[in-house]
Symmetry: C2
Subunit: 404 residues, 2 copies
Amino acid sequence: MNCTIITIGDELLIGQVIDTNSAFIAQRLNEVGISVHRRIAISDDLNEIQNSILEAWKMSPIIITTGGLGPTKDDITKKAIAELFGVGFKRDEQTFQHVKAFFESRNVPFLPINEAQADVPENAHVFFNTRGTAPGMWFENDGKILISLPGVPYEMEHLILTYVIDKLQKQFKVPPLYYAYIQTSGLGESFLAKKIEHVESQLGENISLAYLPSPMAVNLRLSGNMKQKEEIDVFAYQIREALKEYIYGDSKIPIEEIVLQKLKERNKTITLVESCTGGFISNLITNISGSSAVYKGGWNAYTNDFKIQELGVQPEILTKHSAVSEACAKDILENALTKTKASYGIAVVGYLEKYENQKPHAYIAYGDLASIKLKKIDLFYPRIKSKEAIARVALISLYKEFLN
Amino acid sequence: MNCTIITIGDELLIGQVIDTNSAFIAQRLNEVGISVHRRIAISDDLNEIQNSILEAWKMSPIIITTGGLGPTKDDITKKAIAELFGVGFKRDEQTFQHVKAFFESRNVPFLPINEAQADVPENAHVFFNTRGTAPGMWFENDGKILISLPGVPYEMEHLILTYVIDKLQKQFKVPPLYYAYIQTSGLGESFLAKKIEHVESQLGENISLAYLPSPMAVNLRLSGNMKQKEEIDVFAYQIREALKEYIYGDSKIPIEEIVLQKLKERNKTITLVESCTGGFISNLITNISGSSAVYKGGWNAYTNDFKIQELGVQPEILTKHSAVSEACAKDILENALTKTKASYGIAVVGYLEKYENQKPHAYIAYGDLASIKLKKIDLFYPRIKSKEAIARVALISLYKEFLN
């Protein structure tokens, strides 16, 4: 049972928009045992839309499209689908009332092009979209399914979670897949592979192992079908034994959520002082709903003056060791922990790019007032990836040594 | 002249990785007049790789693939390509020496699976990869081009910019495209469309107008070929006249870069106090190389205690108006400007999610000590998009009223 995802929109082909929809849909489908055969991005072109649907149906009984359902002239997905099925349009009354109310509540006039948002091909089963003006649609033809969703992620996600997955599961009764996760940090992909060669060579045809690398961490995922659960668990155990010291988790939950969850469970709090990461870690943490329960707040201490004035760093530390030093990281963390009375903290200083004759590197201080640990990391990444690398090492270190 | 981009990797089809490579490649190709016909994501499967290359060549003379060039067993792109062309492998000596040195410099052993990184199909023209261990490759067959690049963005980007675009331009002598940009904020897509209907209806066949919406902003892009430059400029002028008050820029440069550039030009500085955005704006600004010249640093003032203790908010303001109020935003900005002596600043307070009976909204204070302006925005987005929306409104407002 597989699906092809077709994302529609000129903006995808000129590269001005990064496609996050496909990844979201693929994840949800995989969770219920529907694999994704291909993802295709095409332009807002009538023939392209029709041809790619017909081609995809040769390989996949299910197609999900996103995009091209907006009110402007460049949005022609509905027209392409109606033509493909040789049908006219009908007005969806619930959508019409909703769109009308939507505009009225925002005190903006309800234009004819917005009215047309409620028109759908005659053979459409409508998924009512509470989050926007374009409804989702489900079409069936000769045992093949075509699902058309809006391209706005917030709207698409809601329709996938509320209607699409449910209806697909009912219709296809797919056997679920089983996954085991091993989250590692501290060893590159090829060295991990070497250490678990003896396990990997025994996996057989139907269990697969994927390496999912990100800066400073590699996640491993074993997958197969639910009947192979026990077998997969044994392999996962063997991998964990072989990689012991490098492991920090056994799920696909990102480290910032793991840390937040642990802090919440233990009724503890955290503070952050970020120099070179400039708010990256704080942003990561506050992306999580409910973070205000554990995050006291922090400083983006970008300049030396700011470090001295706001975090009471001794100017001697800066002149003797410079701002990018273990001494400075330790000092600003100590001050932040004292000021905020947070249970734990992380402080980061570093150069994301080459500075004078120094290669990019960072110092991380982490822990509590009773015990501040220090770590140096060398950075081999471009600027933004380096922030991510530092954040990951900092959070994993705090978790492994203080919260686990 | 068009290209199909094929991204290879199981991780793309299970949705654990968001594909940013395609967007980067598409942008660079479009800049030199090569349009992208389709983007396709497929699994690390020998037949899929070969079939999708053969299919794509029917529609595009140029194919660029990324991914599947790593050292682990799941990476089989090179094998698929060699088989497709019916050739064996050769060792690329420059790559071999580079890979060896790469491992030695990091004090990690050089394993046989890493050696194989230097082996390429016999008919490959090699693009030397200074940023990683997998070289890029260029193949020609019957006037068709196949370019295979590593999937690591940092490595792929380097190869595209150093070799690929250059070689494509030499080989195909493509006529360049011409673009005009109009950056707007404050009006939704359909209202913009209504206001410029009279211009849009005159565009004709070969000039296209794209709406590129993001939270709280819509960018418009007119495109055609270089011969139509004057005509496109006239349309752009007409659109700018019709949308006057909503316009903040005429490029595709993101607002944070526009603000930073202006501050640099004028030798001014900025500070930030973020409550509900929790470091999002600071992170955005420090993503830009050279931001330390203008960014003094700031506070992620997440809790009330933090606001009182670090930013000297009067507890009365919090009890009388609450932390999510114009008064609080103004007070913390005033204090931050005074403390840091920054020329300009932004402060943000708000609820990203429904709180008690209040709908999500935020207050933004921005400006300088002589004149602090205030803005309220209602938030209709999910949590992370709301941060983006607030950041965009804050930066655009500061730019339009103080830096333009």
